[in-house]
């Protein structure tokens, strides 16, 4: 008995040590957000001589933190809400009506997950500007326009994940509901969508991290100071020749915290959801 216990204690300790070492770069990020440039130059890994928050102050100031985080939040939350709704609807429809059109569209959606962004970067910008000039809807330099683009880019992954999950749900429940008199809309929202929780959580987590941290697309479309998102504001510290490490790291710490909190909050949902699903077998 005792040997099992000690080996478990040992295993726990070993695991924790491994995890701490694994997160060595995080240690670098944290310590260097408190150091002055010459301190960092002297020794990259030493602990800071004093824990002054001055780099946090200056970083947040230069980032126009309040505006940046507001923009990032709106962009991320709205995009994801719409993505979750539309992707689940579309995937369900594809799975339930197994016709050639569904198969083809699904295939195209998935295939486009493979397109590297650089390929369509320029044509996309030209198209967006064309729409702005000729159709009268300003797509560039606006958050709604960017939301529109993120929905387009997130469609492939979202539908892919939902499709896989929905395929494993038996149709019987839905058919029962139809017999009971529900129309298609109610069947989906009352029966199917609640069952999709684990996948919804997965989609949300992956998309939140993607959109929150995305730099390239917003940097191309958003210009006005009032529209900047956090990654764009953070890029300020990465100059052409020199990196203002202390401010950059402070900015990074501040950027990760919301996502980390969000992830911690969602973790429980995933585990509960998956466990519930597993019990059902």
């Amino acid at each position: 008995m005792k040997s099992v216990k000690t080996s478990k204690v040992f295993a726990n300790i070993a695991l924790m040590i491994f995890c701490l070492l694994y997160l060595f770069p995080i240690y670098l990020i944290l310590t260097n957000s408190f150091k002055s440039r010459s301190e960092m130059y002297e020794n990259m890994v030493a602990l800071p001589s004093k824990l002054s928050l001055k780099y946090y102050e200056s970083a947040l100031g230069k980032m126009n933190f309040a505006i940046s985080i507001k923009n990032s939040l709106i962009l991320t939350l709205v995009s994801i809400a719409i993505l979750v709704i539309l992707c689940s609807m579309t995937a369900w429809m594809f799975v339930r009506s197994k016709n050639k059109l569904s198969g083809a569209l699904f295939g195209i959606l998935v295939a486009t997950m493979l397109i590297p962004f650089q390929t369509i970067m320029m044509p996309l910008m030209q198209e967006m500007n064309w729409i702005g000039n000729h159709v009268g809807v300003k797509m560039t330099d606006t958050i709604p326009g960017l939301v529109f683009m993120y929905i387009g880019f997130g469609a492939g992954m979202g539908v892919f994940l939902y499709h896989g999950f929905i395929s494993s749900i038996p149709v019987s429940l839905e058919e029962a509901a139809i017999i009971d008199g529900c129309n298609t809309w109610r069947v989906f929202w009352k029966i199917v969508f609640p069952m999709l929780k684990p996948t919804t959580m997965t989609v949300i987590i992956l998309d939140v991290i993607w959109i929150w941290n995305d730099y390239l697309l917003p940097s191309l479309t958003l210009k006005a100071k009032a529209n900047r998102t956090i990654p764009i504001s953070t890029a300020k510290f990465f100059g052409q020749y020199t990196i203002s490490w202390n401010e950059a790291m402070a900015a990074l710490v501040v950027t990760i915290i919301p996502v980390a909190i969000f992830y911690l909050a969602c973790q429980k949902y995933i585990i509960k959801g998956v466990a519930a699903g597993a019990v059902k077998g």
Binding site: K8, N12, L15, M16, C19, Y22, L23, P25, L28, N43, L86, M89, T90, W92, M93, R96, S97, L105, I108, L109, T112, M113, L114, I115, P116, Q118, I120, M122, P123, L124, E127, F148, M149, I151, G152, F153, A155, G156, V159, V171, T184, F188, I209, D214, Y215, L216, A235, F238, W245, A248, L252, T255, V259, A260, Q267, I271, V274, A275, A278, G281
Partner: protein, 281 residues
């Protein structure tokens, strides 16, 4: 289940419309551009060159090398990411007390955006390594490649781990108990029972890691900047440099289309292989 066309359209049209505008149209425009020679500036002339751009690819040593390099990098990274991710998932789904904390810690790398992650690791591999006399890894082409693989694994293992966790937790307990009763050892259970049931997870993870590694850009440009001497330039960076540094817009687009086709073929092969081995429950 019979669904009327009206519902079908309602459920799928919104997403498909946005997707079409944001992804398909620019892609088509991009294909159009691949047949011209242009430097990207609207006022400068564009000349139609037919398939010249495509043929040029075969004589472009730098592109071919970067293609080969990307393939090698992808294959190795996919293996590492999935092996490490799976090991993490197995560890974290045991009943150790620290399992939950470990799970969170191991996921943290994924929360950090690609560009910044690259910069941080860049200073680890160059300045930090120099200070401990391991030498600057980024000036040696093999070590730079290893650096890319390490960073990619570090970033993506946590993400893959989550998918595997979901898969592992979905394995019904009765199956595992049956194996236990039959006297199967840990490894036997692992390979003969768990793996086949994890096939759907494998399909998803392999697909996602394959496509992500092929498309790698952020980490490439931040970590190695294609150095030394373009010896670590991957596909996406090569295309990006072609379009922007060398101002060969049409040629860059042609390369991008080819790039896409290669990824599409490889991932389709992968998916069909692993789909065949999926065991339905």
């Amino acid at each position: 289940m019979k669904i009327r066309k009206g519902w079908y359209a309602l459920f799928t049209f919104p997403l498909m419309f946005i997707f079409f505008v944001v992804v398909i149209i620019p892609f088509a425009i991009g294909i159009g551009f691949s047949f011209v020679e242009w430097d990207g500036l609207a006022k400068h002339a564009m000349s139609f060159v037919g398939f010249d751009n495509y043929l040029r690819v075969f004589t472009d040593a730098r592109f071919l090398q970067s293609a080969g390099r990307t393939t090698v990098y992808t294959l190795i990274s996919v293996v590492f990411v999935n092996v490490v991710g799976l090991i993490f998932a197995l560890i974290v789904t045991t009943k150790l007390k620290t399992a939950n904390i470990a799970r969170t810690m191991l996921f943290v790398p994924y929360l950090i955006g690609g560009l910044i992650l690259g910069y941080i690791w860049k200073s680890v591999f160059s300045e930090f390594f120099l200070s401990i006399d391991w030498g600057n890894w980024l000036t040696d082409k093999t070590k730079a490649m290893i650096a890319m693989i390490v960073v990619t694994t570090w970033q993506m293992a946590g993400y893959v781990m989550i998918v595997y966790i979901t898969g592992i937790m979905a394995i019904p307990d009765d199956v595992l108990e049956a194996a236990n009763v039959d006297g199967a050892s840990f490894l036997r259970t692992l390979f003969s029972v768990k793996f086949p049931l994890l096939m759907p997870s494998f399909t998803i993870c392999l697909f996602l890691t394959l496509s992500n590694c092929f498309k790698v850009y952020d980490v490439n440009i931040a970590l190695t900047g294609a150095g030394p001497n373009y010896q670590s330039e991957m596909f996406s960076l090569n295309i990006y440099n072609e379009i922007f540094d060398l101002s060969n817009f049409g040629y860059g687009q042609a390369k991008a289309i080819i790039f896409f086709l290669i990824i599409a073929v490889i991932t389709m092969i992968q998916v069909s292989i692993t789909k065949k081995r999926e065991v339905a429950m």
